[in-house]
Amino acid sequence: MIILLISSFILITILGIPELLKINQKKKTTVIYLGLMSLGVIMSLIQALEISIMNPSEVIQSIVDYALKR
């Protein structure tokens, strides 16, 4: 699963390279592009490795529950 994730990350990153080469702000856009891709990979890794942390919906639910109790 991890190999599949890393290979899809590399594949998707490669797919985006031709477009990144065409634009004006290459450096800035590449940094943001890779930052967003890394975020996606982290989310996928959390699921693939079954790391037990609260998902965003559970976090929002906790915040809403806390606000309603207050």
Partner: protein, 357 residues
């Protein structure tokens, strides 16, 4: 960025397709049982008020998108912070829509297909459309959304022999409380989600028509959703309407003689597709504007990747998703759909008054 322009009629079709999107498979008013039609009417009023607020904000800030409006209203730091919150909200809504469609397809038509595969297929189409630009999104909506409307009218008439008027009774059996609760839910989903159009209103070629055309679109979709709910209630009855996960789909299966299952799913995909495309465009454009980039297109691919990952992560099962949407979503959405837009409106009006003085 290239100045993109869309016509009023194109905007109307995008709003109708977007609002019908997820509501095509999930009926947020079904909890009110035989009073579901009343929920639709009340939510429509709420939706019209919300859209009036959004269009007024847009007219007070001509040519500015939501990210620019937030910076202009709240200042650089607070504005950027609220912009991040909005970008997160749009990403989360897109993931919710994607998950809804994956679950729907997996539990009705493609029972043995992995939901990840369906998410990737749907996102590839959305990604391609968004990369082609807003004009293409508008033209695709102009082409496909009328098909939705025709199908709804056809289904409403085709099921007429199955209608039982007694299903409307007894009126307000459990009082106004469940009706009001479901109305708030329905106002936040799908009407309140049109806050994302603050990213699209600046691209309308005739800005003086933004208010009129948006209100007309919401009124049209309100009537469409009312007809869908009435059809489901009359065909299924209040008990089945409340219990069914996908009442719209179930009612169409009651059609005598012909089986149009796949045809219905295609129509649901059109509505959902428009919603996913609009949200993906708004997120990519929003991130590009946040970081002051010239072009949003290189960001569409990583945003799609994030949304697919998030859609699989946010819920363990369909039951979790339904419960979360009923109990948490209205409270979560109200700040983004009502409180912050109202604050923007008040501050903008005060600034305008100050400038006039």
């Amino acid at each position: 960025m290239r100045d993109v322009r869309i016509s009023s009629i194109q905007l109307a079709f995008i709003i109708i397709g977007f609002t019908f999107g997820e509501a095509a498979i999930l009926n947020p008013s079904s909890n009110a049982r035989q009073d579901a039609w009343l929920v639709n009417v009340l939510a429509l009023i709420g939706g019209l008020i919300l859209v009036s607020v959004y269009t007024t904000i847009s007219s007070l800030h001509p040519g500015k998108t939501l990210i620019d409006i937030l910076r202009a209203t709240f200042g650089r730091y607070a504005g950027n912070f609220v912009a991040i919150l909005y970008l997160w909200y749009f990403i989360h809504v897109l993931s919710l829509v994607l998950r809804s469609f994956m679950e729907f397809m997996a539990s009705t038509l493609y029972i043995r297909t992995p939901i990840l595969f369906m998410a990737i297929c749907l996102m590839i189409v959305a990604l391609y459309t968004v990369k082609k630009g807003l004009e293409v999104i508008a033209r695709v909506s102009e082409l496909l959304v009328p098909m939705l409307i025709v199908t709804i009218i056809f289904l409403f008439l085709a099921l007429i022999t199955e209608y039982d008027i007694q299903n409307f009774l007894p009126f307000l059996e459990f009082g106004m409380r469940p009706v009001l609760k479901a109305s708030v839910h329905m106002t936040t989903f799908p009407f309140g989600e049109t806050v994302v159009f603050l990213m699209i209103f600046p691209h309308l070629n005739n800005k003086s028509q933004t208010f009129k055309i948006s209100l007309f679109s919401i009124l049209s979709i309100g009537i469409i959703l009312l007809s869908v709910t009435t059809r489901d209630l009359l065909v299924l009855g209040p008990d089945m309407l409340e219990r069914m996960t996908y009442p719209n789909y179930a009612s169409t299966k009651m059609m005598p003689i012909i089986d149009i299952e796949a045809f219905i799913a295609t129509n649901l995909l059109i509505g959902g597709g428009v919603k996913i495309v609009v949200l993906l465009y708004a997120i990519s454009m929003g991130i590009a504007q946040f970081f002051k980039l010239d072009d949003y297109k290189p960001l569409v691919l990583p945003v799609s990747f994030i949304c697919i990952s998030l859609s699989l992560w946010i819920f363990d099962s369909l039951i979790d998703k339904i419960l979360w949407e009923e109990t948490v979503y209205p409270y979560y959405a109200i700040p983004f759909q009502l409180i912050i837009p109202l604050l923007i409106l008040i501050i903008s009006l005060m600034k305008k008054k100050k400038l006039a003085e």
